[in-house]
Symmetry: D2
Subunit: 348 residues, 4 copies
């Protein structure tokens, strides 16, 4: 059985997903694509032989569509999720679901009401190196986890125009690390302490954001996670996770541009790291789709089947990010409970 | 400008090349495919929207074809090469050109007479890690090269049926290492000493072949190369090249299945190596096509433009393989000159 | 010229220093040794052909002594320092100088008044791997430093009896990391946030201490340092420092028990780390003595000659440790200024 | 019980052994030292509080001596061995026993006749990294061994004066690798093929020696060993051993000058290798003495107790070296049997 997709959004990430689903994912095909910029949809549609929908609603409700991949801009995710859920389709949604927790809750409620499958696009969970760390924890090789270290440094900052609308570094970049901390430990975060700084580019500070951060997360089970972020690592895209516990540690290393060493009187030299996230995480995107296909196949309306990255997994990092921002601004540890209470007040 | 290909042979390797050319190689497209097993050609043709030719001759001579990719069985390479050359097409030919040196010479003569471009499929030349070793030599980082070590061990032996027809381990497996030795040093081999053994599987010995070998090559510039081969490395596909010289050494390392380490009281553990050559060398196949497109574009009838892997590069490893076989059988060093002289006698 | 030492304290660390000074440090010799347990002094004295003093005062004031190495128990360091300074001897003092900042100030005042040389035993500054990180920062290879990560995990906890009197993990173990943070960045710490936990052994908690900690230090120049501590790493003595900045990063790796790899179907296996601090840091202890000899030789009464680890370097980590303890107990960031102010109040 | 040594020869290596035995080897002490250059003996004797003998005979026959360490020049080893054996002392002899096989046989005959313990100074057997390779083979972790690779490159050539008298590179440098091949495989060498070259320094060639070599050894059990030698590796002292077999491989890696990495836009850089053999192999020399003490203690006149490096282990590499020299000179494989037959003829 093949899962037939409607792909919403044909920008860089939507195009990548559409091509993967059309050509590289067993059990998947793309029936229809949509983008508010019609030319983008036409180009991708022609490339992969998919129909171009004239509206998001048409794409989502088509009879020959089983699942919807939401790759549009963040502010439109929830509406698309609700539409897809109401049409009874399985839903894949790129992260973040939304920057607004209340909107997230609206989307998740629609999914729950419709009883459809939902998976959030935290692709790093499927990276073979990071996954091996999580698996080592899950299978007990690390023992009780005491400490987790996440180093996550980009090769270079995004354009200032993006910085201005991204929702801030915690929402745009650290969100992956918040998810990684929950994924690796399998324990909820209960407290956050964050320090941020502008060290890479003053223009980022002028745009109201930071480019360097350290975050300390305390988990419900007592594990302490440190996150170390920078918008610019001169030696490439630096992505490391280490889980330390009573039996030892599991850690993921980086991928160099190639595997060669030059040894001279000056020492031993290896090349810098891979630079681009689509290249570094290529396999994780493919494996994410395999996980979605397996999940949707197993789900079949049975909500007890766990999503590889559930709605709750999509919501938690947003709340952690809010706590981190408050912590940084007020230079004090902030509990998740405090954020939840504030959220409930603002909801009521 | 796009180079339009006819792909001859739609087996495992031909199918991979056809799909790459159709989808992943800028400046390339596939017009027509052919296979003596028509169903194989139909399947690939449908997959990539290419015409299926009814004969090799039709595929090669089509007006909308600029280049021919010869991916058929080894014994048919030369006839296809001659046909493509006579049709004035650029030629890409999988290695080995042929197991028969006289046949190789016939093919190369046709290419020379027609003045067409020719590139042999020594894909490992484009592997980023091995290429970095060759580049370090070329750019002088290693200084004068004194010693080269090539370790080339397969994860497991091929089926016995293949062993019986492959032309022997030196022709089928070590041929890549003979090419690597010439590629890295940029110096011709003048003498060969080979030791072979059956250590992996007695059935390989019963089929008349070996599964374990050490070969010592002496180059015209005095460099000595050692090659170490096994048909079965329990820990994966082991592919290492090291060039040592007056300024130091350049070496290529292996790729592990993923980049994680588990550290416990028992020590630090990394996963085994990647197991499958198509996976290990995936990028080299793509880069090989980029090199072909660049070469054919630059060539434009000008035979002074050097091929990334010329006809002479395709011929030399066959001769080295013959010397290795004679050396192993008679347990003595054998010069390339001795093989050439014997070849000339048999030709006359 | 040889610097003649009186070694005070002949326990594990004093014995090691006495033997090194007697046999392995060019420009050093040991004239006299002392220990309150006379048998310990007699044994070391016989071993290295040194006189055994009948009192600390006699050892410190001897005419054939140029320098005093204070390796006694922590609570006696300051009195010994004052006595040595008043006798006009160069002083080497094991860390920590004292757990009491007022006492430290009394010792440093005596050293300043006497105009003698003083070096504190922060041996890790001389570890070739950590030193290379500090040197890379100093020489600009890392650029402006943004983030420092220190991972410092012992192979196993000390005896509970020691835990009860050590002054707590921050004073006994993390003190090295506080010093490392200042040494690598060359910037004072201005704020501390600490999380501690009992994860390794409940008995440590019952003794009033912690065994697991994360500390975030903010430096005057904006650098943020994270420290990750555990009393027990199953895979050995884990000691890593990483300094990240605008030009890249410098990091120190661990030493394995030996340099071998076993590769099988189960993967690649290296041995665990070296387990014992005297073995792991053996070279740092020797290089520390070379640095002391060079410093004392250059000093010659000229207080402008900088100590490799000055009295101020000995004092600062104690203050940071107090801030860390307060931060942990009250779960809030604590400034160094707050500790200084409290210290001044209690002094007045 | 302490084994009391007479140390013969107080040059660089003898001095090192005398100091180790006097200070660092449990169960060992040095009673007497001797050197034909009396000043050398006086200096070492004073340093370690040992008596200086007026003749080799006196040193060897002293009543308060249990074992003799022969560290004199190679041409005097056998006479010293005979004298020590006849005096009933346990014998440690630096390698090579002699460059003359007949002389070796005379020494071994004296040892056998006296029934004393004998250990040859192949210190690399005790290097923890190489030993781990041999142990992995011995304990079956590698399975049946098929191939062994030994890379052994010095950081720089010895003085030409030494080259002229060393007996040639095979006797002076490769001898360690011949021993390593036997030690790791535990199988005798039956055939040798050697290629040599002068690539590092023409003056070495003018002195009648080579500085670059590849040697292929065939063992009795079918294992093939390759040895790769150079007198000068720009990046330091390169010492690697790899044993490959049916279950995988065990390999020893090099030690860098320190364990740090600098990562910048130019890549990841580690320091060069340790440069000096006494530093690189320091631990192996100590462990060699521990092995000698254990062996002599267990021996106690019982010749069935195996030496960690027996007289036969000292003899075999000399014969392999002769085969290598003949092979190189005549460019053909040479059997060990051929050398033995020639030796017997010349003896008769």
């Amino acid at each position: 059985m093949t899962i037939r997709f409607a792909v919403l959004g044909c920008g860089r990430i939507g195009k990548m997903h559409a091509e993967m689903l059309a050509r590289q994912v067993p059990g998947a095909s793309v029936t229809v694509v949509f983008d508010v910029v019609d030319a983008a949809a036409q180009s991708v549609g022609a490339d992969i032989d998919a129909r171009v929908a004239t509206s998001l609603a048409d794409a989502v409700s088509a009879n020959d569509v089983d699942a919807v991949a939401i790759c549009t801009s963040t502010d439109t995710h929830v509406d698309a999720m609700v539409a897809a859920a109401e049409a009874g389709k399985a839903v894949f949604c790129e992260k973040p679901i939304s920057l607004d927790v209340a909107a997230v809750d609206r989307g998740l409620a629609a999914v729950a009401a419709a009883g459809v499958a939902l998976q959030i696009g935290f692709n790093r969970r499927y990276d073979p190196s990071h996954k091996a760390v999580a698996d080592a924890v899950k299978h007990g090789a690390v023992g009780d986890v005491h400490l987790v270290n996440i180093i996550s440094r980009d090769p270079g900052p995004p354009p200032i125009e993006y910085v201005k609308v991204s929702g801030g570094m915690f929402n745009d970049m650290t969100i992956h690390d918040f998810d990684m901390a929950r994924y690796v430990t399998n324990s909820e975060v209960v407290e956050v302490y964050a320090k941020g700084a502008v060290r890479v580019d003053p223009a980022i500070g002028e745009a109201g954001d930071i480019d360097t951060a350290v975050v300390v997360l305390t988990h419900a089970d007592g594990t302490i996670t440190t996150i170390d972020n920078s918008r610019r690592a001169a030696y490439g895209y630096d992505q490391r996770v280490e889980a330390f516990g009573s039996n030892g540690k599991a850690s993921s290393d980086n991928t160099h541009q190639f595997n060669s060493v030059l040894a001279t009187e000056q020492g031993y030299r290896r090349p810098p790291l891979e630079n681009f996230f689509l290249e570094r995480y290529a396999k994780s995107y493919l494996d994410q789709w395999d996980a979605f296909v397996a999940y949707v196949t197993a789900f079949a309306g049975d909500a007890s089947v766990a999503s590889p990255a559930s709605g709750a997994d999509g919501r938690a990092p947003l709340v952690i990010g809010k706590a981190a921002l408050l912590s940084m601004n007020e230079n004090r540890p902030v509990t998740i409970e405090e954020i939840h209470n504030a959220q409930q007040e603002s909801n009521s």
